[in-house]
């Protein structure tokens, strides 16, 4: 089953994302923890698109979620400037407090919560595909 929806490049749209995931939670019988993790992955990607994108006007961001068995595929597409989050350096999370920086944590969380992540740029569109296994308790 596929679910697809569109939001614009505005952080207030995170509420729209949350509402869509809440609907999916009951359809796909997901645990609150799994929903929170999926929400986190998508928020980090969307927040990056908004931060790196063109903020002169509203632009659509299309999110598609596909579930096949226990595998969830999340596709995020936007027509903003070319931006490949998969090549961003990972932060050093072992540094002591005084040396810790705030950047890079979002993508670190995305990498942790997803088993696969690929980026393509096609027809002036960034397409990011994220794969994640849904734990067995969600059937």
């Amino acid at each position: 089953m596929d679910v697809s929806f569109q939001i614009t490049n505005d952080l207030a749209e995170l509420n729209t994302l949350q509402a869509h995931l809440k609907d999916l939670q009951s359809v796909w019988l997901l645990t609150p923890k799994t929903v929170a993790e999926i929400n986190l992955v998508l928020e980090e990607i969307i927040a990056n698109i908004i931060a790196h994108g063109d903020c002169t006007g509203p632009h659509p961001i299309t999110i598609t979620l596909t579930r096949e068995g226990q595998e969830l595929t999340m596709t995020v597409a936007d027509e903003g400037p070319s931006f490949d989050p998969t090549i961003c350096a990972a932060p050093d999370i072992t540094l002591p407090l005084k040396d810790r920086k705030t950047g890079g944590l979002g993508l670190h969380l995305v990498r942790t919560f997803c088993q696969g992540c690929s980026y393509t740029r096609k027809n002036n569109t960034n397409i990011l595909i994220l794969k994640r296994l849904i734990p067995k308790e969600c059937r």
Binding site: K33, I93, P96, K98, L109
Partner: protein
């Protein structure tokens, strides 16, 4: 996200409720401003009713921990739900922030500091 601020013994307690995300973090940062600029008591974040956190929320927490790092007042966190605690651990924040089970445990730990 809702924030309620209370005082107990020599600590200020921020009780967080709801979601600390890219959308709500800027407002939370504003509420914290005075506490970060010139700490005049210990600070405890009570996460009991916080159901969701993202990197935007972690950024505020990191800045808070940094602001209290020099002392003499200290920062503590407590009562995290599973998702929030997991995000903390994945980010390595548990290496510099002690997570207590309850507000009382945080208060006792700060008493002994």
């Amino acid at each position: 996200m809702e924030v309620s601020i209370s005082k107990m013994r020599h600590a200020t307690i921020f009780s967080l409720k709801g979601r600390l995300d890219s959308n709500t973090a800027p407002q939370f940062e504003k509420q914290l401003q005075d506490f970060l600029r010139g700490p005049n008591s210990h600070l405890i974040f009570d996460f009991d009713n916080l159901e969701y956190i993202s990197s935007a929320g972690l950024r505020v927490i990191l800045n808070t921990a940094k602001a209290y790092n020099a002392g003499p007042y200290r920062f503590a966190a407590c009562a995290m739900q599973e998702h929030v605690q997991e995000v903390f651990e994945i980010s390595g924040f548990d290496s510099f922030i002690t997570i207590h089970r309850t507000v009382d445990e945080s208060l006792s730990a700060l008493d002994q500091a």
